[in-house]
């Protein structure tokens, strides 16, 4: 038993990482058919990915939509999280459960419902609208991160600012936002990632013209598995890696500032 558990955990961890490692390795394979381990290594598939204007266009849309979703979700989510942490009102938990609904309701239903409305409002393919729709999915993520970040901000710091004469706006700009900054950046990063990786809403709302990276991967998978997808997938994994890395650094900073406050 003593040795079985670590052995089991090791195997499972390898199984968890294997699919991701395999995709990354494949992305660097040489020309020819997808094979593992590859016979040779090259950057061909990345060159093909970034050389193809259609893939490049998808990348651009993914980034733009990701930014819109990130900004909308972070701003709206920050205010809501602040209200949850500092406000006193009835039915707090119920309201929170409502705001978390977007990750509970099957995304297919949400997407079809959004599509249903978007068609009538002629918003299908509208980049801004897609960003806002994905922001709804990112909102719960932002909210959960900021709830814990704002709970770490001592309420007396806010009281001190007010007693020293700060207006509510100054309180936010000079005290609350700087103190919540690590959490805010984390929230923004994960909001971007949520939108950047999101497939189903994009699938319904992007139409023919505007296709994000996940949508184009989906379409390709339905036809034939071309190796370029491995490169695109590796790229998406890379973005996840960067987000997790930045978040880890921020967490480190948050932890060290906490310590000094006892």
């Amino acid at each position: 038993m003593r040795r079985a558990l670590p052995a089991y955990v090791t195997v499972l961890c390898l199984l968890l990482l294997a699919p991701i490692v395999i995709v990354i390795v494949l992305a660097f394979s040489g020309p020819g058919y997808l094979q593992f381990p590859p016979r040779s290594y090259s950057l061909d598939w990345f060159i093909r990915f970034l050389g193809d204007p259609r893939w490049r266009e998808s990348l651009w849309y993914s980034i733009v939509i990701g930014f819109i979703a990130c900004i909308v979700a972070t701003v709206v989510g920050f205010f809501a999280a602040y209200a949850f942490v500092r406000g006193s009102f009835a039915a707090k938990k119920l309201l929170l459960s409502l705001l978390l609904l977007p990750i509970i309701v099957p995304t297919v239903i949400t997407s079809i419902a959004m599509y249903f409305v978007s068609v009538r409002l002629e918003l299908v393919g509208n980049v801004l609208w897609i960003g806002i729709c994905q922001a709804v999915i990112a909102l719960p993520v932002v909210l959960l991160i900021l709830l814990s970040a704002l709970q770490g901000v001592d309420v007396n710091l806010e009281r001190a600012a007010l007693s020293l004469g700060a207006s509510p706006v100054r309180l936010f700009v000079k005290v609350v936002i700087p103190l919540a900054a690590p959490g805010l950046i984390s929230a923004a990063l994960f909001a971007f990632l949520t939108s950047f990786d999101e497939l189903i809403i994009a699938l319904f709302l992007t139409g023919v013209r505007v296709q994000t990276l996940p949508v184009r991967i989906w379409n390709s998978l339905h036809m034939e598995i071309e190796p370029t997808i491995a490169a695109v997938s590796a790229f998406l994994i890379g973005v996840t890696g960067v987000v997790l890395l930045l978040d880890g650094l921020l967490r480190g900073r948050r932890a060290s500032t906490m310590k000094t406050r006892r």
């Binding site: 001592d154 007396n156 710091l157 009281r159 001190a160 600012a161 007010l162 007693s163 020293l164 004469g165 700060a166 207006s167 509510p168 100054r170 309180l171 000079k174 005290v175 700087p178 103190l179 500032t257 000094t260 406050r261 006892r262």
Partner: protein, 376 residues
Amino acid sequence: MSETLLPPHGKGMLGARGALELIGLTKQYGDERVVDAVDAEIRPGEFFSLLGPSGSGKTTTLMMIAGFVAPDRGAIRLDGADLTHVPPQRRGLGMVFQNYAIFPHLDVFENVAFPLRARRVAKAELRRRVEATLALVRLERFATRYARELSGGQQQRVAIARAIVFRPSIVLMDEPLGALDKNLRYAMQVEIKELQQRLGMTVIYVTHDQEEAMNMSDRIAIMNQGRIEQLGPPGEIYERPRNAFVGRFLGEANLLDGTIEQIAGDEAALRTRDGVLLRARCRSPAITQRTASLFVRPEKLAFGDVPEADRGESNCVQGVVQRRAFLGSMIRTTVQIGPTTQLTVDQPNLMNGAGPQVGAPVVVSWAVAHTLTLPE
């Protein structure tokens, strides 16, 4: 340099600002009245303490004065102007928090400059005032440090500097020395008191430490269960508590339950449950019931009989030493004077801890003038 911190010209004489009135202040959470009809008038330039056990409502009262908690009933007036519904940022009161609440993302200079920036004070003036205030609390060399690089006492000084730099008429302090160790606490008490007198500011100070309150305050309000039990100068409250709670809370006290046998003038005779008859001063309207507590401070008690001539002015009882505690500067002796009655006697440690030993029969005596009857 300290004159820059005095009230600006034309605002009247030193100490003329900073009169605070609390009128029937009440706060209720659910069924519980945390603060119950608190009335107080705090005079300009006064060091005023709210003293009480935890949960007595002292912090909630302070939070209502600061504007962070809205009272359910009652009013707060500052120099005659109604403050009850003014938001905290427009009350202009300085506040020092229990955990200092120093902004961790700003250095010492910017922390102290914060209230001036909020008031859009011009650059040169701001620098001058921040530097003067930092000098006042002896932190001029620490302007570029952050809170995490300062000791507890230094953080405390930053908090004070920040609360006085904008010349508030009143400074509120919420257990500001709670986190410091004992020696530093005393040094800081002296420092805060000196600063307060030098600047002539009104301070409202919340603490649960009776020595701290007595050391610093001009007047103390003893709070219990949301009410002010007694309000007055430390000496008066210490010597003449209005009830048993106040007597017990502010310092050590002997409180013996008994029944009043007779009242003659300002003197009452009280029989303890063990049947010992003792005499005490009695402020006539306070005692109406037959049962009361006899109150005397342990340091007023002495061993040995009193001369025949003074008998009329003293209480004398016999007992056996039950326990002796060596407290350094004094010896605390517990004497059993009846089956259920004990007296505590504090003597200064004058001769290497000498005094009656456990088991020794003793006579304890004290002046009737130091003895009070208190309502239950």
